[in-house]
């Protein structure tokens, strides 16, 4: 079943995954059929594939603001996060540090290494003063090998103060590798501005209109990080495995398109997002915008709704053909209480009714109108039925 089979569907879950851009699908297609050679081969057919990924690498480097040799193609954000943190720890030992609101792809690595998790402020962004304290702690001083701080939070959309983070890390732990998970930043922030602050940067292609199973990690030349995946050494020994040529082409195409349309998209999507939130808040009491608008990216509308449960809101939105999400889902598909909202200290009265609606390159004004009406109706139904006495329909 595709979206074409569900014509009335409103898609507000771009932070989970985005529709592939046409350019991305087109770039991938030839390598899914005719051009199947392995780019590491030595014949002319292989050289065609090699040329394709070399060009793609140049384009990706341009959009990130790094050298082509610093681009590593991976299987996605989770691999980039794991490879950087475990790779740094394996090479240098020491202490790994991250924020409490990181994606689990970072948080679970740091916890696995018994590292340090730094508190966040009420927006979900790392508390820089607390970070400084951790770095200066005599137990950690001189021993911190890697610091990982996300550029944009995936649940609530808050923007991290990476400039201050970099300053504090360089001043207190000059030998530490600074990594940023920029998975949720790609659509809304110029990666060149982020990459110049850090040593390693990770993005995931399906979050910006590319294919699933593809990611890019920018790793500064000369950094010492042990590879997570060893074998044929295809990505300059920093990552092995036969190149996913079609995936790489599609990733580069999606990133080019994202980079060239970003400025206009920020304006367009901010307007839509604000209209959505304004419509909901003006109709419903006891709804809070989890993070102030100027502290988060345009694509995320995160609300906490008192008197409702996320699973119930999502069910009613789903019935109305609106796709949204709450916190992260576990392997069973159940909603887990959000570690991000807990770390932010959101009022418990609101925390169980969290809702993330995330917008992107295909979002239209019509979708926003339908989503706001459906959400208002859903919340009204849930609040009304919750207070109603328990009665049964006669069978």
């Amino acid at each position: 079943m595709s979206k074409d089979n569900l014509p009335n569907f409103v898609y507000l879950d771009h932070a989970a995954s985005t529709p592939m851009r046409e350019q991305s699908v087109a770039a991938m297609a030839p390598y899914m059929s005719g051009m199947y050679a392995n780019p590491s081969g030595s014949h002319r057919f292989a050289r065609i594939a090699r040329k394709a990924i070399d060009e793609a690498r140049d384009d990706v480097a341009e959009a990130i603001g790094c050298k082509a040799g610093e681009v590593i193609f991976t299987s996605g954000g989770t691999e980039g996060d794991n490879a950087t943190i475990f790779g740094a720890a394996r090479r240098h030992g020491g202490v790994a540090v991250c924020s409490a609101a990181e994606h689990h792809a970072v948080l679970h690595c740091v916890e696995n290494l018994n590292g340090q998790v730094v508190e966040v402020d009420s927006t979900g962004a790392i508390d820089v003063a607390k970070l400084e304290k951790v770095l200066q702690d005599p137990q950690n001083a001189g021993r911190v090998s890697v610091v990982s701080v996300m550029a944009v939070n995936n649940e609530v959309g808050s923007i991290s103060p990476l400039r201050q983070v970099a300053k504090v890390v360089r001043a207190n732990s000059p030998s530490a590798i600074l990594h940023t998970d920029a998975v949720q930043a790609t659509c809304w922030q110029d990666l060149r501005e982020i990459s110049k602050l850090v040593d390693v940067l990770t993005v995931s292609a399906h979050k910006f209109g590319g294919p699933k199973g593809m990611g890019v990690t920018m790793q500064r030349i000369g950094l010492e990080i042990d590879p997570l995946i060893v074998g044929g050494g295809q990505e300059r020994d920093r990552r092995s495995g036969t190149h996913n040529v079609g995936g790489i082409m599609a990733t580069a195409a999606a990133l080019r398109e994202t980079d060239s349309t970003r400025g206009a998209e920020i304006l367009r999507v901010t307007k839509l997002r604000d209209a959505l939130v304004d419509a909901v808040i003006s109709e419903l009491d006891d709804v809070i915008e989890t993070v102030a608008r100027d502290k988060r990216v345009p694509g995320i509308a995160h609300l906490c709704i008192a008197g409702c449960e996320s699973e119930s809101i999502l069910f009613l939105l789903d019935e109305a053909m609106i796709c949204a999400s709450a916190a992260s889902a576990c392997a069973s598909g159940a909603m887990e209480p959000s570690h991000v909202l807990l770390a932010m200290g959101v009022d418990p009265r609101f925390i169980s009714g969290s809702l993330r609606m995330s917008l992107g390159h295909t979002t239209t004004e019509q979708e926003i109108d339908r989503a706001s009406s459906a959400l208002i109706a859903a919340v009204n139904q849930l609040r009304r039925n919750k207070t109603a006495p328990r009665v049964s329909a006669s069978k």
Partner: protein, 355 residues
């Protein structure tokens, strides 16, 4: 009707969903995520959610997962642990039915606009001429589960459906095979879902409470043995009491928690003429004082005739004296024809003689 069917990933609830679809209902499947820890007992684990989802896909219905793990911990797991501390023998599956399936889930179903909640229990809901709902035993006598859902009152009975209650287990399996469902040959779930088969109750409780050593004494107070964990001893138990072999059979006849003493005695000393029952729920009207009911005290135990001596508290007097029912066990009353549940409650803990 719009029906929410609770799908555990087992064959009964899989076929329950299929039956509802056949009856023309608008069906949505849901699996409750209850226990966050490990499970190897064939219930609640991620692979069971996978089975439920796959069956729903095969049947062409939507499938949801609701995370009720916090409620499960509060209403089932924590009380289970505390009961052991208090010397009570709890039935967590019944508490899960009471608090999760027929409270939390049915409440959510109502809020979301469903007309009924269905489960795969082997029980039936019938309605008499006076429009009273009866929780009737399942058609398959060997698989009847009316005992574990005895807490349903008229409001819940009106909102609940048991689509496989009229089938035998063999018919349920045949139906699943016919539909090509992957759960067709899955073994029935056993034991308590949050207690692993490998670790058992002892490991589970050992991680949560400190076991108390206790002495084992005869009813005359003569020291006879010792146990390492008073909390694991149950009324009627015969093994694991550190008693020398030979001699007449000895049973636990009382667990004296305050004094950390286990009292043993002969089978005769275990017999009681009746028992008191707490937290009583009636499906409809309470029975008349002096009337006879059939009393069942375990999931597959016999239902034995008893006289209703009083209603508050509920005191039942057996026709023939029975082995003492461990406090904490559910006591369910059926009508004299042994066909439907009248009501039930929890065997009293405060009264060591039970009557």
């Amino acid at each position: 009707m719009k029906v929410l069917v609770a799908m555990s990933g087992g064959v009964d609830s899989s076929v329950a969903a299929a039956e509802l679809i056949d009856q023309g209902h608008q069906v949505v499947g849901v699996t409750m995520r209850l226990w966050g820890g490990e499970s190897d007992t064939g219930c609640c684990s991620v692979s069971d959610v996978d089975d439920a989802r796959r069956v729903a896909q095969q049947l062409g219905i939507d499938h949801l997962v609701f995370n009720f793990s916090e409620d499960f911990n509060k209403h089932v797991v924590a009380p289970y642990v505390q009961a052991h501390v208090d010397g009570i023998t709890p039935n967590p599956c019944i508490e899960c039915n009471r608090h999760l399936k027929f409270d939390r889930l049915s409440e959510r179903a109502r809020i979301l606009g469903f007309d009924a909640v269905a489960t795969g229990h082997h029980a039936q809901i019938t309605r008499d001429a006076a429009n009273v709902f009866h929780l009737t035993r399942g058609h398959d006598g060997l698989k009847d589960q009316s005992y574990v859902v005895y807490m349903l009152d008229q409001t819940e009975l009106a909102y609940t459906m048991f689509p496989v209650g009229h089938l035998t287990k063999a018919q349920v399996r045949d139906r699943a095979v016919e539909l090509g469902l992957r759960t067709a040959t899955k073994p029935d779930s056993q034991d308590v879902c949050f207690i692993s088969r490998t670790g058992g109750r002892e490991t589970f409780l050992g991680h949560r409470i400190e076991f108390r050593k206790a002495t084992v004494v005869t009813s005359d107070g003569v020291l006879a043995g010792a146990v390492d964990a008073l909390e694991l001893v149950t009324i009627g138990q015969r093994k694991g009491l550190g008693l020398p072999g030979g001699g007449p059979k000895q049973f636990v006849v009382d667990v004296d928690t305050p004094n950390a003493r286990v009292v043993i005695g002969s089978e005769d000393q275990l017999l009681r003429s009746g028992l008191a029952v707490n937290n009583v729920m009636w499906a409809d009207q309470a029975p008349a004082i002096g009337s006879t009911v059939l009393v069942q005290c375990s999931a597959h135990g016999a239902a034995l005739p008893a006289l209703v001596q009083s209603l508050s508290p509920l005191v039942l007097e057996f026709e023939v004296a029975q082995r003492r029912i461990a406090p904490g066990q559910s006591v369910v009353c059926y009508d004299v024809t042994n066909s439907f549940v009248i009501g039930g409650g929890i065997a009293d803990a405060s009264n060591p003689t039970n009557t």
